[in-house]
């Protein structure tokens, strides 16, 4: 029973972690809470749904469609909505992000309907494995493994490639990066693309585990993932993963042992958020953005 819940918590936490990485990277380079990030995850889930249910693509092709589509959408949102506001007061940027978020939710609501639709999960992922009394769905095993692989790729890009160096430099000082002859806008767009692609993977995992898609599904998940990013330490990719796992575990474990608290499960992430702001505002692995940037 305990192991079972650990695995479920790990799986849920990995999904939060994937989405939290996008928040933390965008915050790192732009100091922007990208409210639309949760909705990009929703678009990822929807694209996967269309790939499988409408276009009748093989599952992996649908996943690819979701990743590419979401990455393009994330980059487009930066190009159209955020880039013109680089020198504007930050509040304008936040308001625009809220506008983009609300636009995506309602556009999908109008054109595809607000009713949750069942996601056709491929049968391979629905198999259940048994290990000495433990029953584990294949999807709950695959999610953490793939998350770890993606995390390794992201860390490799950030710390071993020139693009990664540019991204880290951008988090440090935008003006100097421009002086060094690096096109900061291009790097920021790439960050949006990477974050959105990860959000799309998170969205696909989400619709496979809770097999339905609806236009509002990104709101709460996005908020919790942001809370995860803050708990882990905003600006730090490892922190985002740590925060995601903490919040995922808490939700699963508390409900397993105190079922009467089930109705309040969505509140846990915010309680964590408030506590971390009270006692260690920089987060567990965080960098103090106010004193020194990185």
């Amino acid at each position: 029973m305990f192991m079972q819940q650990m695995i479920n918590g790990f799986s849920l936490g990995s999904m939060y972690a994937l989405i939290a990485i996008g928040y933390t990277m965008v915050y790192g380079v732009l100091r922007l809470i990208n409210f639309a990030h949760g909705d990009i995850m929703m678009v990822g889930g929807f694209l996967g749904f269309f790939g499988v249910a409408v276009l009748e693509l093989p599952f992996l092709a649908a996943v690819l469609l979701a990743i590419v589509g979401s990455a393009l959408l994330g980059m487009a949102s930066d190009r159209i909505a955020y880039r013109p506001l680089r020198s504007a007061p930050k509040i304008s940027l936040l308001i625009t992000a809220i506008g983009v978020s609300f636009f995506l939710e309602n556009a999908f609501n109008v054109f595809f309907g607000g009713v949750p639709r069942a996601f056709p999960v491929p049968s391979v992922l629905e198999d259940i494995l048994e290990f000495g009394g433990l029953t584990i769905p294949v999807s709950a095993l695959i999610v953490p493994i793939l998350t770890a692989m993606l995390l390794a790729i992201i860390l490799w890009v950030l710390f071993k490639t020139k693009y990664g160096m540019a991204i880290r430099a951008l988090a440090f000082d935008v003006d100097t990066v421009n002086l060094m002859g690096i096109d900061a806008n291009r790097i920021i767009t790439i960050v949006f693309g990477m974050g959105s692609a990860l959000a799309a993977v998170g969205g696909i995992f989400w619709v496979v585990n809770y097999p339905s898609v609806d236009p509002m599904m990104g709101v709460l998940v996005g908020l919790k993932a942001f809370a995860a990013a803050v708990v882990g330490g905003i600006g730090s990719v490892g922190g985002a993963v740590l925060g995601g796992l903490i919040i995922g575990f808490t939700e699963v474990v508390v409900i397993a042992f105190f079922p009467e608290l089930g109705g309040y499960k969505d509140a846990f992430a915010f309680i964590f958020l408030i506590l971390i702001l009270l006692f260690k505002p920089t987060g567990i692995l965080g960098i103090d953005f106010e004193k020194s940037r990185f």
């Binding site: 100091r31 809470i33 909505a81 013109p84 506001l85 504007a88 007061p89 930050k90 509040i91 304008s92 936040l94 308001i95 625009t96 809220i98 506008g99 983009v100 609300f102 636009f103 309602n106 556009a107 609501n109 109008v110 607000g114 709101v219 709460l220 908020l223 942001f226 809370a227 803050v230 109705g263 309040y264 969505d266 509140a267 992430a269 915010f270 958020l273 408030i274 506590l275 702001l277 009270l278 505002p281 953005f289 106010e290």
Partner: protein, 343 residues
Amino acid sequence: MTVKKDQWINLSFVFGVIGFIGIANSFFDEYTIRILNNIAIFTILAVSYNLINGVTGQFSLEPNGFVAIGAYVTALLLVSPEAKQYQYAIVDPYPFVLSLHANFVVALVLSGFFATCLALVLSFPVFRVRGDYLAIVTLGFGFIIKIFAINYPEVTNGSLGLNDIPEFSNLYWTGGIAIIAVITVLNIVNSKFGRAMKAVRDDEDAAIAMGVNTFKAKTFAFCTSAFFEGVGGGLLAALLTSISPDLFDFFFTFQLLIIIVLGGLGSTTGAIVGTILVMGGSEWMRFLDEPMKFFGYTTPAMPGLRMVVFSLILIFIMLFAREGIMGKKELKDLFKGRKRSAK
């Protein structure tokens, strides 16, 4: 000399509004009066929301949470014990819930009071850190309030909400409190506290260097706006006569955000102008949600299209007309001529 002129402008505006309320109440039809009531309540909300978002420059997404608190407090105090007896269908309410009863004024004041207390509790974790955590914490707060409203049926009657709230709100109440809210907020903005708030908005570091207690300024702005949002929530409950958790979702806050952005962040006059335009426009744009005819071709009904248009409007204002209609100007600045542009 100018001060006196400003006062005359504001005073004549107030009397104009009072006269208009008197005329509206006796001559206009029910539908128009309902819209006017809505405009008055949203004026209260927008003007106070503008205090934290526009004047102090702290991006917050709290109105739906505080309005919900106010609405529930007022509803619990106004619904008669007999009416409560048969409403609680999910579980039996706590005995004290049944015995709660107060008159309208006490209910409104308590609504504001509870909202203010919660704002005070929230401001300690949030304003200790600089940056945009306020936005995410207040957004989460709205969700938590809704979660509690649903999961605490002993008090709130869960997702069924509370019904049979006596309809106390009329144009005199809503309009009167709107005038009080506007005057209070204007006085705050023009006071020492108001200057501290603007200093925080324009340059927080400089404000700290000048000895402004930024924590105090932000908390004061946040609590004041929470108070009026609580009162506005109470008025709304007594206008709608029934409330449920779904009423106070994020769309509520979004509407207010559009109002203050359209009117011009930081301008109280702008908040009022924005309220009238958005509330009126939202009635006018109802046609968008219904089936439309283009050259003989009928499009299907698309409920929610209005909201798509709203969000596009918000993005466009931010990209191309960031100052909104009024910028940071107030009513009196419009009569000043070109000599001095207000900042």
